[in-house]
């Protein structure tokens, strides 16, 4: 992967991804309702230079795979968790600048028209076109600035629905404003670098500014600029910024359904409204669309893997690698390779399953390449006795989005519980390692394929 350059913007990231073979440009005209299907059929991220009826270009599928996310970040694929964990421990606060490229074009008042943006219709049963790659910025006198990822449904040329259904910092900020009967000023940036996007997707503790984390991911301060109509700061080189207010209407406006991060069509919800006071953008702006579930999942994957490394460390287990698997939506299912001492296979499982997001876990020895599913399956097959090495924990904290917890049977406000399981696929105590000696083709080091083909 090509490393990122200093103060790299979204466009610089796209150029690098193209250089890495992770992004493909097309100059054929496409309508926004087809971008989601196109991204699902092309093995690279797609940069659409001509969007039918729009002057703004579109890009989609940037974080569809681990490889593409690694390219966007400029990090080796196997280093994502380590780099993320390092960044979280050494935040770098953002720096204010007076002028930002994101404000090269400013639309306010009657000139505000969301239909100027190629907001795509993404999934068959969605309630409308969605802005899926928006990073919302808000400020609070008690907790300070905050950034997070929230989906936005197109309603009118100046109004969007925003999903604030589940607990989040922005929901906390909004609830305070709502109880006071006041609107909450926010700004939403579209087309920010993967560093800012991943930091915003990370559920940092209240009071921690996600842009401090983004700075640490970059290795230098994020440049931010004040909004034109709201006192909220956004990344200065974002492609597009929507400024406005979350209206104090509470959870009353229809929003959704939308194809959710767990890969299933979500429910129709009641949510607040976001009224737009300004649209600012760069010249020749690029609109990013984020495609569910994989792009959303991969943005969270490194944070989950970093959390796994952290809890394993707290449990006194030496973790060599952790992988949040794609089928488990990069969080619900994890595989960890450890340098095991007696009993630590089970200790590791107990630690991993204690994380709220993790529903199933596999622990292997450090000789297993956990990025190879066949290797993991081999370890489960030959190092696990089902009656001794599978751990099941019942009655743990669950999530509404998981249909297997039957959330529809819950009373209003009741939280779901779930069962979790872990597989200890480390060499069982008492079995000598030589029993697992792997076969090696004879003369493997001497034979070169090109000499015979």
């Amino acid at each position: 992967m090509t490393p990122a350059t200093s103060n790299e913007d979204f466009r610089g990231m796209l150029r690098r991804m193209e250089h890495d073979g992770c992004l493909q440009r097309t100059s054929k005209r496409i309508s926004p309702q087809f971008i989601s299907a196109l991204c699902s059929k092309v093995p690279k991220a797609i940069f659409c230079e001509k969007v039918d009826g729009y002057s703004i270009r579109m890009v989609g599928g940037l974080y569809w795979t681990r490889t593409r996310l690694a390219s966007a970040l400029g990090w080796p694929e196997t280093e994502l968790a380590k780099q993320f964990a390092k960044a979280v421990s050494r935040p770098i606060p953002p720096v204010m600048v007076n002028k930002g490229a994101c404000q090269e074009i400013v639309r306010t008042g009657d000139d505000v028209d969301l239909t100027e943006l190629p907001i795509p219709f993404m999934h068959e049963k969605d309630g409308g076109p969605y802005i899926s790659a928006g990073v919302a910025f808000a400020d609070d006198p008690e907790f300070g600035p905050n950034a997070g990822c929230y989906r936005l449904m197109f309603r009118t040329e100046r109004e969007l629905g925003i999903d604030l259904f589940t607990a989040s910092d922005l929901r906390r900020y909004y609830s305070k404003a709502y109880e006071a009967g006041k609107p909450l000023p926010i700004a939403v940036a579209i087309g920010v670098h993967a560093y800012e996007h991943m930091a915003a997707a990370y559920k940092a503790p209240a009071g921690v500014n996600e842009m401090d984390i983004a700075g640490a991911l970059r290795g230098e301060a994020v440049q931010i600029v004040r909004g034109k109509t709201v006192d909220v700061h956004v990344p200065a080189n974002a492609e597009i910024v929507l400024e406005g207010e979350l209206l104090p209407n509470g959870w009353t406006a229809d929003e959704g359904p939308f194809g959710e991060f767990a890969g299933m069509q979500g429910d129709l919800k009641k949510n607040p409204l976001f009224r737009i006071s300004a649209i600012t953008m760069r010249k020749d702006a690029i609109f990013q669309s984020l495609h569910m579930p994989w792009e959303n999942d991969w943005l969270n994957g490194p944070a989950t893997e970093a959390a796994c490394m952290r809890v394993l460390g707290l449990a006194g287990v030496q973790a060599v690698a952790v992988r949040a698997t794609e089928g488990g939506c990069c969080g619900w299912s994890v595989v960890a390779a450890i340098k095991k001492r007696a009993g630590e296979g089970k200790n590791a499982l107990a630690a991993l399953l204690a994380l709220p997001v993790v529903k199933q876990a596999i622990v292997t020895d450090d000789d297993i390449d956990i990025y190879d599913s066949n290797e993991v399956e081999w370890a489960v097959t030959f190092r696990c006795q089902a009656d001794k090495d599978i751990v099941i924990l019942s009655g743990m904290k669950g999530k509404h989005v998981d249909p297997s917890v039957r959330p529809w049977d819950l009373k209003p406000g009741e939280l779901p519980t779930t069962a979790k399981f872990g597989i200890d696929a480390t060499i069982p105590e008492g079995i000598p390692a030589f029993r697992y000696e792997r076969i090696v083709p004879a003369f493997k080091d001497q034979v070169r394929a090109e000499d015979y083909l």
């Binding site: 309508s31 926004p32 309702q33 039918d52 009826g53 729009y54 028209d113 969301l114 239909t115 190629p118 907001i119 219709f121 068959e124 049963k125 969605d126 309630g127 409308g128 076109p129 197109f154 309603r155 009118t156 040329e157 109004e159 229809d254 959704g256 359904p257 429910d267 129709l268």
Partner: protein, 66 residues
């Protein structure tokens, strides 16, 4: 860009029965995507829309004022 008034009327008529948003795009596919969104915006401004559990829309009532 102003909404296409005929498209708005046709959309109003189409929303007399419950439809998914995708059906709106399919029914009016001869129009540009942006024109459909403009018309949709106008419908949202003029009418209260009903929703069923699966997410389908229909026009419930005309709003009293803009």
């Amino acid at each position: 860009m102003q909404p296409d008034s005929k498209l708005v009327r046709d959309l109003e008529e189409f929303l007399a029965r419950p439809v998914f948003f995708k059906e709106v795009l399919t029914r009016f596919s001869e129009h540009k995507y942006r024109a459909i969104l403009k018309a949709w915006s106008e419908i949202r401004l003029q009418f209260e829309l009903g929703r069923d559990e699966s997410g389908r829309y229909w026009i419930e009532a005309r709003k009293n004022s803009r």
